[in-house]
């Protein structure tokens, strides 16, 4: 019934001469949340960079809404409806909170998200709208980064390690918001170090190990031991 939104076929990617992804293939259906797990350096962020066009040195095929976008550049891909919330947040330090959010909507795609919708979701950001983005706490900065991603009204949002460097209580707050963030039938790929949390928030998962898919499917279909074996490569 639901359509394939994103399809990745035999994706290989390099940094210079170092090959980092070794032929990944998977599909993501409209409205699904895919958890991407794997240890540090497995290639999760690299995969997201390939999908959103930040990494050009790659082969294989990435299609989005039945269009092949493998060779598209990042600034065109965001206009097609893929937003990345990057690892480490990457807010613009010279811009205020509100300016960061406005810039997220720069491509002018229509949809449910606007400044006021973001401020409804994260009221604290409205209070701090004129503050320099770097003056906020880590959790608030992550809210800005998420809001900035949503502002482009994407059909697919890529969330890279939302919990990076945050206190457990703040992580819990952010994950409690997740259903609201990816409500409206938004499709998402969620990269997360905390496997239990990742699997609890998703319908599908992929485990990546040294640039290859070591396991994938519905979380319920596997035991904890199977998943941790795929994760650690044992």
């Amino acid at each position: 019934m639901s359509e394939v939104l994103l399809s990745v076929e035999n994706l290989e990617a390099w940094y210079g001469d170092a090959k980092v992804l070794h032929g990944l293939s998977f599909q993501l259906k409209q409205g699904e949340v895919l958890a991407l797990i794997g240890s540090n350096g497995a290639g999760k962020s690299t995969l997201l960079k390939c999908i959103c066009g930040l990494l050009q040195k790659k082969t294989g095929r990435v299609s989005f809404k039945n269009e092949v976008i493998t060779s598209f550049v990042a600034n065109d891909i965001v206009a097609k409806g893929i937003a990345l919330v990057p690892e480490g947040r990457k807010l613009f330090p010279s811009l205020s909170v509100e300016e960061n959010l406005i810039l997220g909507g720069n491509v002018g795609r229509k949809g449910p998200w606007s400044l006021s919708a973001i401020y409804n979701l994260f009221p604290i950001l409205k209070e701090k709208r004129n503050a320099p983005s770097t003056s906020l706490s880590g959790g608030q900065q992550q809210m800005v980064a998420i809001g900035r991603g949503l502002m482009s009204n994407p059909d697919l949002i890529l969330l890279d390690e939302l919990s990076l460097g945050l206190a457990p209580i703040v992580i819990k707050d952010i994950y409690d918001m997740l259903p609201k963030i990816i409500g409206n039938g938004l499709t998402a790929i969620l990269v997360e170090q905390d496997v239990t949390r990742a699997l609890a928030s998703s319908q599908q998962f992929l485990c990546i190990q040294e640039g290859r898919i070591s396991l994938g499917g519905a979380p319920k279909a596997f035991t904890k031991d199977q998943i941790s074996a795929a994760y650690f490569g044992m």
């Binding site: 550049v73 965001v78 491509v107």
Partner: protein, 288 residues
Amino acid sequence: MIWVNIIIQGILVGGLYALFAAGLSLIFGVMRLVNIAHGDFIVAAAFLAWVVVQATGLNPLFSLIVVVPLAMAFGYALQKWILNRTLGKDILPPLLVTFGLSIILQNGLLAVFTADSRKLNAGVVETASFPLLPDVAIGYLPLLQFIVAVAVIWGLQYLFYNTALGRAFRATSDDSETALLMGLDQRKVYAWAMALCMGVVAIAGVFLGVRSNFDPFMGPGRLIFGFEAVIIGGLGNLWGTLIGGVILGVSQAIGAQINPGWQVLAGHLVFLLVLAIRPKGLFPRIEG
């Protein structure tokens, strides 16, 4: 009273130096590019205005209506087709290419216009003045030049902090990769920045040509004054650039009063002094 006069004249000349410097400051701020040919572009703009004035009979100050858009279009194209190709991790290629452009411009201007010096004639406004205090008269032209400099700096500052283009400049300067994720193509953003820079260069060129004689080899000297104003004021701060220009203008005026040969030297000395005491300039940008 003679010193009051000297200082006021120095301040007004400082406006011209700030105009020389504003474009340099803008380009360095947005893309960390140091344009060695900046002074030559100012001189080229003066020649362009001269051509427009010859062809149309316009007052040079009104020729800006034609010269500014032409210069902006040129700046956009220059960045898009030449300078963007030089930008990257290595800082040497843009320096070499703009150095090359400087030589090409000087020799190109020499070939077309000869080494004769020329002047833009703006009419009575050049010599008219009004008395401010006894013994202190303010010339309309220097005053206009200063007001235009303040207006240009204010305009750039406004654009930087209150418009979508300014947001794009700041975001791209912060992190061009993340800016791509916002749909901002840095090559286009840089082209707009260079267009703006050349618009200011055109204004600076016309005021240069109205104030004094110019010839094809005047560029490097204007570049030095621009550099000094930027560094004295502090990198990445446009109001600082205006103050830097004023400090340079006043230093030169005082130096010239002590000994006519010391005009430029006095400016260099104050520049060195500021560098020695505050290496980041007087008003560096506060980093977040």
